[in-house]
Amino acid sequence: MSTQPALAVENVDAAATLTDGKPRRGPARRTRSSGGGGQRPSTRLTLLLVLCSITVLIPLYVTVSMAFKTQAQAVDGNAFSLPAPFSVDGFVTAWNLTDYPRAFILSVLITAGTVAGTVILGAFASFAITRNWNRRLFRWSFFYLLAAMFIPFPVVALPQIQLTGFAGLDNPVGVTILHIMFQLSFSILLFTAFLRSIPAELEESARIDGATTWQTFWQLIFPLLAPMSATVGIFAFLASWNDFMMPSLITSDPSLQTLPVVQSIFQTQFSNNYNVSFASYLMAMAPAIIVFLFTQRWVMEGVTQGAVKG
């Protein structure tokens, strides 16, 4: 299945240029340096950008340093001092107060369910729609499903809170379903655009070899969709993992809340235990940041592609 449709390559092109900055800048740089322009990396500009990056790093630094302080040091109000002495008491207390393992697992389950559901349902529907575009039902379904892009969650939130309550879905399962549905139009938009670029000959040859539609989808189409699935998955991951509004409104049982939502206990109770609350914030933020640091190339490509090509 190594055949890459031409359009797929074109799609990745802009994004691939993004992360290493070489493919397109490369030739330009060479021409410029031969013309005698300023070809050395600018140290002044680098320093300026490093200074700017401090604004990004300050809140993260404060979170880390506050988290490792003792309670006595944390309440003195100086957010920028280094922890002295170094203490992990905050983490222990936060771990127990928020029941971290449970909230973490719930967040992971909701996010994993959202990513898988968005990719699979989106790919299913897009495949059916593009291959039956001459049928009214499928054509209308496309525009119908796309209409969700016009509906922000707050607009339908009140009836949804009620309905999920009636249906017994005022829990993480309901949150997952809603997360998938609000991501669906975006994924269908990307998938259908991509599916149209796959030459029909490819599918026909699979069918001549005797593959059913089901087999064609799983063995030919779905693997070809991989780059789009990655983009769709990254968007679904970011939206689901970091969401506060939907779980906080839909899930009625506080013990079934996700990581971002359980942090609110530090606004009402324990509000002076800064070392505990920041340890808790850090434990809630860290997984996504760590995942990002390992997958940053894909994430940056995916986001750019999703936003620009979408």
Binding site: T17, L18, G21, R32, G35, P41, L45, L48, L49, V50, P59, V62, T63, G77, L121, A125, F127, R131, N132, N134, F138, Y144, L145, M149, F150, P152, V155, V156, A157, L158, P159, I161, L163, L178, M181, F182, F186, L190, A193, R196, E204, T213, L238, F244, M245, L259, P260, F278, M285, A288, I289, F292, V299, M300, V303, T304, G306, A307, V308, G310
Partner: protein
């Protein structure tokens, strides 16, 4: 970053040949099986609630119990309700301000990050980190900084308006919300601008160099016009995101002080506990119409632009 820019041009029949060239024969049943789950769940999860919401916006329901049709009374009342008007004023001024702040900063950063600099990859990584941080959690962190560290700094420097928490000041609290929203939204905007800047061929600048254009002239006369399509994308995406502001405001001010920073989504949600369910559904319907208008403008512009 959850919304999209443009619907693709509807495919024509010749770009998507049916698997079998015999035209209008029966659709293979499995295609219905592929499509139906999405259609059914989507209808139950989004369409039905939307219809229920619109239906109740014409009633006096408080969310349960008896109700009567009252026509457009809810809608009429919206226009003379100071709380509603204030939330619209706040939300729109906030969204427009934030769009400007985010786009100016993200564009300048993108220019810097695509120039010849050292440690390019590391710097880009740092600037993109806020994108993966949960809005509510970073709002809690900033809330601590705004209420403790910034006032301490203000007192040390003898600056009056900084020596109290800006979040406790009804006239300044929105600035805190703009700062945190910008902090979190710049990365996504930045990535789109970087893609835009990298799509400009290098020889354009080379020609400008030869003609003796200064760097500043090149930025204004070449770079900016050539990325205008990306500016449009970012402005519209940002506007739609910021109008839906909720998480960060909850984390920073919870709508306060008083109701000074209560956004439209927050006002709508109060309908669930405040006993004015039907009224807030009318509010939601109004908000929906506004979002649709913005989306239609978005589609128009991106269609006209064809594609980036």
């Amino acid at each position: 970053m959850t919304t999209v820019i443009a619907a693709p041009p509807p495919p024509t029949r010749d770009t998507v040949p049916p698997p079998s060239p015999s035209g209008k024969r029966r659709v293979e049943p499995i295609y219905y099986a592929f499509l139906l789950p999405s259609l059914v769940i989507f209808t139950l999860a989004i369409t039905v609630p939307a219809i229920i919401g619109i239906f109740f916006s014409f009633t006096n329901s408080i969310g349960f119990g008896d109700w009567d049709f009252i026509g457009l009374v809810n809608y009429a009342a919206l226009f003379s309700d100071p709380a509603i008007l204030q939330s619209y004023l706040f939300t729109f001024s906030f969204a427009v301000t934030t769009v400007i702040v985010v786009n100016v900063l993200a564009f300048l950063l993108a220019v810097g990050l695509t120039a010849r600099i050292r440690a390019k990859t590391a710097l880009r990584t740092v600037f993109v980190i806020p994108m993966v941080v949960s809005g509510i959690i970073i709002a809690y962190v900033f809330s601590f900084l705004f209420s403790n560290s910034v006032p301490a700094l203000g007192q040390a420097l003898g600056i009056d308006w900084l020596s109290e928490s800006i979040l406790a000041n009804p006239d300044l609290a929105w600035i805190g919300i703009v700062i945190v929203t910008a902090w979190q939204s710049i990365p996504g905007t930045l990535l789109i601008y970087i893609a835009g800047l990298l799509s400009i061929p290098g020889d354009v600048y080379e020609a400008a160099d030869l003609d003796g254009a200064s760097k500043r002239q090149q930025l204004w006369r070449i770079t900016l016009p050539l990325v205008s399509g990306y500016v449009v994308i970012n402005v519209i995406l940002g506007l739609k995101n910021f109008l839906n502001a909720y998480d960060i405001i909850i984390g920073l001010t919870n709508g306060g002080p008083g109701t000074a920073t209560r956004s439209i989504p927050m006002t709508i949600i109060t309908g669930f506990t405040g006993g004015d369910y039907a009224y807030q559904m009318a509010n939601a319907a109004m908000f929906f119409i506004i979002v649709v208008v913005i989306s239609v403008i978005q589609l128009r512009i991106s269609r006209g632009r064809n594609s980036v």
